[in-house]
Subunit: 447 residues, 4 copies
């Protein structure tokens, strides 16, 4: 059976991930993501109303025209988790394919919301829920399996397409977490089995985000302990404390909610995406948040929440807000500009439970946000965080577990791939033979 | 009563700390440290046999000749903890003063060993043990108190000299740790009392090592969780694992010993200083290490230990060795050079539970050590560590607790002071009025 | 005679420079500058219409209320050169003092334009022209002298106040340039004389911008050779070439004009400040630009110029435009956004004859500008530039020439001062004795 | 005709360059270099006496065993210039091939010296001189041409193998210099012709050393102006001045000699390699150094030279010495350690006309050397230098001139290649199709 892999998007950047695997006549698509920075560099564009061709030209969504070169039928569209760089183009591209969208419950719920928000296209593909550990048939001879992995969002999986020639493992995005705070540990046992059963692993496509970093990405348990340490140290502070983190990072939000309670403060989630992700996770039962937890996304309800906080005394609350990267319109930036009714006083604490995404525009915005906060007297606790992506020793362990015949680095540009190529080379892989450094829009014939 | 402070050493560098406080006719000396890098830049010098004047000329030990300008009598020499940059010059300078050396048990035991190793001078000062929380009289009107603090070595204290004009708090070295793994949390309650009782705090001398870093230094509990995470991830590895850390970091060594056991390996401490610090801590009961824990410092016993490890199977052991900075003669560097009988195989793990001290010579040596280890196939886990020194938010909290009339930044050069000066200025202190940026060899008349 | 120095602004930042020297009853004010970044962090503020007290509160202009502590009469306001951080607050503050503004011709012309643009205050102080090498009396016993220096703007001087107690040399801003392209070399001979004649130098106030950088700041001749090399390499290119640099950097603009001609292109200066500075320099005869050189600042005339360039063929022109830091509203940024009629094609060249000012907001904007230009196919030549500020060896030479009794580092924050303090200490100065690290709003009694 | 390229060494590192091109039955080998750092990491190895297999195992010289896979006869070994990473393995490997070594005069003279110094092997290949612009036949249907390029050593060329299928251009190492101080400018006219004549360029192998750096590498004329500026600024200094640079950088050494004279000092070249390279260049007439220029390499003659300098007054001399990277045994490092009779005084100047090679071991050594020099009072002028390797805009121009069908990045590891891959991709090349990212030991069939 011919096995061919089309590396459609996310092989020259982080963002707009899309990969298709053809096994004989059957094709499975992994991820359809959005590169938001390509939209934001232009002033005043609203993605919801834009046409896919314009977004392709801007480099914002995958250029899926290469799909016509694949001689097969799409049988499933499989987003691996709910981050925008993996699901954000579904509403623009999925309707072109007569295939269901198959994902874990939380991911699927987020996909559904994306589709609802879309103005231009009308995506009507079937939405099929599949949990980690479950499988479904693809055509007559292949099988799709979800292996549980751990990432900075819950319900992440690595899909595996079992073919007669061996397994194709799509390894985006994960860290190797044995104590992930919410959800199960990464299922290394299953990866090791897949590496050894049947024909073994034919091909492994890997997330290289942190492939240039030494060592091991710490567990969420480490970030939690770091956050616990910060919150504990603020226990006696009797003024305002504000926290911010990735809205989609349910485990972190959950830790914040828990530690707020521990130090005698009422947590309140504020900001549109904060309400969206936590609300969705709570609604589908993926996380067990307190029943009375306030989550407010709409401008007016946020305003009312801030007014309540100020009138009841801000020393009794922990607002958990959007704006961890200093995004100009996010809640924390607006607080820095004095555009909300929350008043910061000298000595008030702002906890960034997030790293700074290393891109100059972003670093500039984050710096400006911190500067505005400091001008009002705020004290900054930054980088209370660990990444959701494997570093070199995680990659080493994955290669050891899967022993793939072929590897394809992904989710980076060439500079990002370099650390992975060095690692794979040291393990006996050879560029051009079984180590495939590629770009957007290519197809690789593996069998 | 006149209060005068002599900033003798460690005000232009990290290393060779020494400060004297005169209260009326009585003088207390805090720390007498060694700047080892000033010795190592010359080839083949052995400190033990060198004269103090030569070491002063080299910038290796404090130039205590400024003591003659202080019109008073030394009543106590008070090393705050057992690191060499705080006790390493005692064997060269203490005999000049007719005063006891007063320290906590572990610090005192290390001072004693320093004195024993010295060849040139014969220090015979009384050695007086004093625990955190205890006090002693200094002259007729002053009192010396030890406040418990947390640092990267156990039994660290901040000495406080209570004078009729207020307290002089000598704040070197600490982080604000509420969960320190070994020993008690930092005694913030006592600091807050001292800030409010009697005349309050007249002067605070502060450790600026990390004063240019934002946020809060994490607790040792965070480093422990990080280390736990790494060790847990290696549980199934059936080859060699080697760890290295600061020999004097008893809490970290203790965590390594504990986690070794947890993953089914026998810990063995190897290297001269590894044996010295842990042996001493164990002997005086400062730490509760397993009775059968092997510690080997002498060349021959180390060799025998390595032979046993290789013959019984290195998969059963966790050697904890010296060499975390790539020091040319340390154990790990020798392992990298193939100079020991321990054989590294492809895939074996080396865990650096230490940061890299940011100085180019050091970075070069560490890099070379890692390169040698990698050439033998080792996989590196680096920076499994948190610092022992306060960052900006710790400094902010200390100022808030003590509310000192005067502050003196220490334990850095001017660049290192700059973050502290910015912080203190933002809290209302003014350079030249109550914020004293100074250099080695100065005296400051506070009252 | 009492000599007192008030360090009013620019001692905790780069920007809003202001220093006053009192010699007996007479006071001379050096510089009254603006810190523009403190304005820009707020949205939509226009400095021209703002009150000085608001600008002081924002940290944008010097807080000159400390002047009331100086027991003397202001006899002269002396801006040292035409950069905004040295003259930008004159229109907000000078009217409070009954004293002439004394400056070199180009500086004075720029001051006049600032005063004309001001909407809120009406500055009517006399404007007195004085050239480098000239002197004027200050009161009965002092004399003000202008010593020629070299900087990134023409007509820069270091003012020297000769008092009976020795000279006070105000050393902002300069590099040591013996081949400055336009104007005379720095007058080191005069500095050396001042260091040795009469009472010598009582006090030296120094520009520490680059005090943490090793070596020597290269001459403008080096930047010119670098620029020449780039332009020469583009001689055969038959598409668009665009250059950008500091509008006020007349020597650099002049080199660009000259090299444009050399490679057969017509230079055109575009953008408001580009027209202003070059127009002013040309008008007063400070530079000899070609008679037919086009300079356009107003939107419509710029539009017409671009239209002419596009219709006559952009291969025949070298537009020299504003926007070297990626300022959002500058000409080059607008070109990147496609908001002008100049069309960039694949392969067109953009030459940044400027460094990136190292501040995250700025770095973000510059990155965004480059990204937009690249998206249109532009090739970037960056950092064709040398700084206008002394590095360490320049500082060393100045101390050697002047041999001042007292030194005061300026034009930086504490971190920036640190390199200078290290240098001065190594030359025998002592903090608190004759080396005065100070902050905004202090006064220092020298005699 | 089949065209095949073997990428033997220098495709995973800088160092041990070696590439073979097979055109039909004929093979040409470009470069046989040494990676010295792989030797130096081991203690006390002397390359001259080592066997090639040991050196191959250490990664110090190219593993030429892949040559057996090439079905053809080696007709020429062509070192492109005299740097060790291009010629340093000739004495270990060339004797295995029955082919002449063809090179420019200076390169050939250096190769000859390498062969003479070798103890283990006896290389007897013919040495054939060929100048830039000349050609020789390779077999019946191919021709080898040398195109003049500019680099940090004189007499560098890019060899071009003209085949019936088009030209293979071996593009290591160069910058694009139109004003190179010594020798002719880079022959871009010829490159443009080669790109357009006959079948055009089949394949281009490119030096990616600086491919991640923006802009254009400045000309040697810029480095010369920079150096001139430094030396001019030291004209009045009446103490010791010492300079160091790459011994093989004849143009730089020549500028130093010239400027020494200009400021009234006698230049003296000191150190083994300093004598070797300049002596050789002078002997073959490649540079016109003053007849009475002293060059001393042997320990005793160096000692005598230093004694003469000290007795006649060091203010009359400019020693130009080895040790620009802080190499432990080089002359400048020994001067820093006080191991020569040259005495540094407070204020003496040391000019590093060299950058720091960015590798931690090296940075550590250089730092240590500077520290030792500073401890004796020396003032440091560092980085008076420009690189000899193309940056991105040079690469852009080369692609534009040659318009090759295939490109192969070389002279770096994957991280270094990344900037080049990005550039080539933006110009329409595709990984795996006509853009070949490869590793040591591969062969690429182009036709």
């Amino acid at each position: 059976m011919e096995i061919e892999i089309a590396t459609i998007g996310g092989y020259e950047e982080v963002g707009r991930q899309m990969t298709a695997v053809r096994a004989g006549d059957d094709v499975v698509v992994f991820d359809m993501g959005l590169n938001l920075s390509k939209v934001l560099i232009h002033d005043n564009l609203r993605v919801e109303g834009m046409h896919s061709l314009d977004l392709i030209d801007m480099g914002a969504i995958p250029d899926d025209r290469v799909m016509s070169e694949l001689d097969g039928t799409v049988k499933a569209i499989v987003p691996t988790h709910g981050h925008l760089d993996h699901i954000g183009a579904i509403s623009k591209l999925a309707h072109r394919y007569d295939a269901p969208i198959v994902a874990t419950p939380f991911t699927l719920a987020l996909v559904e919301e994306e589709i609802d928000d879309e103005n231009k296209f009308h995506v009507q593909n079937d939405l099929v829920e599949m949990e980690a550990g479950e499988t479904m048939s693809i055509g007559e001879r292949c099988e799709l399996e979800f292996v549980n992995v751990t990432h900075s969002i819950i319900d992440a999986i690595n899909p595996v397409l079992h073919t007669p020639e061996g397994a194709v493992v799509y390894g985006l995005d994960k860290r190797m977490d044995h104590t992930p705070v919410i959800g199960d540990p990464i299922d290394m046992k299953r990866f090791r089995e897949i590496g050894r059963e049947g024909e073994g692993v034919l091909c492994y496509i890997e997330d290289c985000t942190n492939a240039n970093r030494k060592g091991r990405t710490p567990s969420e348990a480490v970030a939690r302990e770091q956050l616990h340490d910060v919150m504990r140290s603020l226990e006696d502070y009797d003024g305002g404390i504000v926290a911010t983190t990735f809205s989609s990072h349910i485990a972190r939000v959950s830790s914040l909610v828990e530690f707020a309670d521990e130090i005698g403060r009422e947590p309140v989630l504020l900001g549109r995406s904060m309400e969206q992700y936590s609300g969705t996770a709570d609604r589908i039962g993926a996380v067990d948040l307190p029943d009375d937890l306030g989550m407010y996304g709409h401008r007016k309800s946020v305003d009312r929440a801030f007014e309540r906080i100020m009138s009841e005394g801000k020393e009794n609350f922990l607002p958990v807000v959007t704006g961890h990267q200093g995004e100009p319109r996010a809640m924390l930036t607006r607080m820095g500009r004095g555009e909300t009714t929350y008043e910061l006083d000298e000595g008030d604490k702002v906890v960034f439970s997030a790293g700074v995404i290393p891109e100059p525009t972003n670093e500039g915005q984050r710096y400006q946000s911190e500067t505005l906060l400091r001008m009002q007297g705020a004290r900054i606790y930054d980088d209370v965080h660990v990444s959701g992506h494997l570093r070199q020793e995680g990659h080493y362990e994955m290669l050891d577990a899967l022993q793939p015949q072929h590897v394809i680095p992904a989710h980076q540009d060439m500079k990002g791939f370099s650390g992975y190529v060095d690692l794979a080379s040291s393990q006996g892989y050879e560029l051009g033979r079984d180590l495939h450094v590629t770009q957007n829009g290519n197809t690789i014939q593996i069998v």
